[in-house]
Amino acid sequence: MATASPLPAPLLRVENLSKVFGGVTALNGVGFDVHPGEVVGLIGPNGAGKTTLFNVISGLLPPSGGTIAFCGRSIGGLRPDEICALGAVRTFQSASLLSGMTVWDNVHVASLFRPAERARVESAAACTRRALAFCGLEDCRDEIAETLSIGDQKRVEIARAMATGPKLLMTDEILAGLNAADSEGILHMLQGLKREGISIIFVEHDVRSVMRLSDRVVVIAQGRKLAEGEPDAVARMPEVISVYLGGRYAQGV
């Protein structure tokens, strides 16, 4: 009799993924897994290909080679809305709220366009209410979204992502531009999402936050995977220190 494998089947499996723009190779044979309920930190220098990786996984760009499987299904080349409907949702580097719309409406858009099987379980309004409550936004639901502080705008982004009913959340530098208190709040929310069983791929330049939140860290540089492992182990790898962390961080850990 076959024994159960030590790890459950991966939620997301990226294998040998490459993306070429004209003559520029942005991603070159990148591969990693994300398991259910796991937080994977993704770090690397500017221009390493982190955002390109998100763009390919979320369907904004077609892959040039390699495979992406989500829930055991190949998603390479699917449209962004199809990938979102399967349960993989992302945030964008620059705060991307729908201007002129209230906080409620910004989140409600995502609730309205959930796939039918999720819409049957919970009404769109209930879904929006739950997402707003989770992110602590009930009091400003009628504010115009872009008039909020940056920290609250990031919360709206997370609430909107939550309203889609994701299994996997990909955050692209969600802490950028936030003060310490706002960062702390967002990290708490992401930990809450993790407790609810949602996997997260966490792209961030604030290495201390990455090391704190992540179960596993993937380092990419110049479009290639440089290292992968537990946060502490990755932080001690000489090649990671030399290309990204710098000596000062290593001594601080």
Binding site: R90, L98, S99, G100, M101, F113
Partner: protein, 342 residues
């Protein structure tokens, strides 16, 4: 309740109240034949058609942010459906109106590949499609193209002038009513998201192509219906008269002058431009075009949101003056396209 808070309540309130407002407006206008002579009634019909066409254009161009420069093709196809249907097949007016709308919607469905393009490229592609259709209808014997029949179709007016007045007023009510309902529905949310950030919209699950296609078909069906109804009113339909590029330009001008992306914009714009047109014609015939053009440039430069944004800006200022804490309005965008929940 004063005027400012009432206007605000209608804008942000439930769809039912907006439809009620529309009904009151239509009822008041419906009394016009009691006091107006034929000249003014005829003029009013043109205003209704212009507002109806502009409102239809506004759905895809204003709310969706996809400016179609060939929208006149749907009016032209509708007018030809009316003329051919009534003269050649002896169909009644309601039947050709349905056929005109259906043909235009079907034609719009063929546009779906064009939606891969954005901005100027989309505008130019729609313009090109219109020119293609103009040529086809000019050459096709079925539509009495140049080759073997007389040019154009002559129709007997099937209704008295008052009849046309109420027909077009009723159509205007249906068009504006449908737009009020659509922009507050799921489609309205999709359109708002698409206009603001199409990449984001698709990333949060909006099937952008589907909603653009639905919207484009609705915004094409109404000009088709209007065109079919317009054929017996005009009494003469030819490619020159119903495929004129000025029909498309008028839709765009009226919408932008009044306020693109708002329900009220094309209504205000259509009425205002007709009044300006009349005054300029009557008093300054030689400089008529100059005055008309200068006013449009002035309004769109000073207030890119059109007359509607001038009005809502005033309402917002009055509201924030009345309240101790000012609430900033959405910059550059008149916020009617999506509902607020209170």
């Amino acid at each position: 309740m004063n005027f400012v808070s009432m206007a605000y309540a209608i804008r942000t309130g439930p769809v039912r109240n907006q439809l009620l407002c529309l009904a009151v407006f239509l009822l008041v206008v419906a009394l016009c034949p009691l006091v107006m002579n034929d000249y003014w009634l005829r003029l009013m019909v043109f205003v209704f058609v212009n507002i109806g066409l502009a409102s239809s254009w506004n759905l895809i161009g204003g709310f969706g942010g996809y400016a179609s420069f060939g929208h006149g093709v749907f009016f032209g196809v509708g007018a030809f459906a009316g003329a051919v249907g009534m003269v050649r097949f002896g169909l009644p007016l309601p039947a050709v109106m349905v056929i005109g709308g259906a043909l235009s919607a079907a034609l719009a469905a063929l546009f779906v590949p064009v939606f891969r393009q954005k901005g100027l490229y989309f505008a130019l592609s729609t313009l090109a499609v219109m020119l293609v259709f103009e040529t086809v209808l000019q050459r096709w014997t079925f539509t009495r193209g140049l080759r073997s029949y007389d040019l154009g179709w002559t129709l007997a007016p099937s209704l008295p002038l008052e009849g046309f007045f109420y027909l077009f007023l009723g159509l205007l009510g249906l068009i504006v009513g449908s737009i009020i309902v659509v922009v507050r529905s799921k489609i309205g949310y999709a359109l708002h998201a698409i206009r603001k950030d199409e990449v984001l919209a698709s990333s949060i699950g909006v099937r952008t192509t589907k909603y653009k296609a639905i919207t484009f078909m609705i915004s094409a069906a109404w000009p088709g219906v209007l065109g079919a109804a317009f054929a017996p009113f005009l009494a003469y339909v030819s490619v020159q008269s119903v495929f004129d590029v000025s029909i498309t330009l008028n839709m765009i001008l009226i919408t932008i002058f009044g306020g693109a992306g708002t329900v009220i914009g094309p209504i205000v714009g259509g009425i205002a431009l007709s009044i300006i047109d009349q005054i300029a014609w009557g008093n300054f015939l030689e400089y008529h075009r100059l005055i008309y053009g200068a006013l449009i440039v002035a309004i769109t430069t000073l207030h890119p949101g059109g007359l509607a944004s001038v009005f809502w800006g005033w309402v917002e200022r009055r509201r924030s003056a009345a309240k101790p804490v000012p609430r900033p309005s959405a910059p550059g965008h008149p916020p009617t396209s999506a509902p607020r929940r209170a």
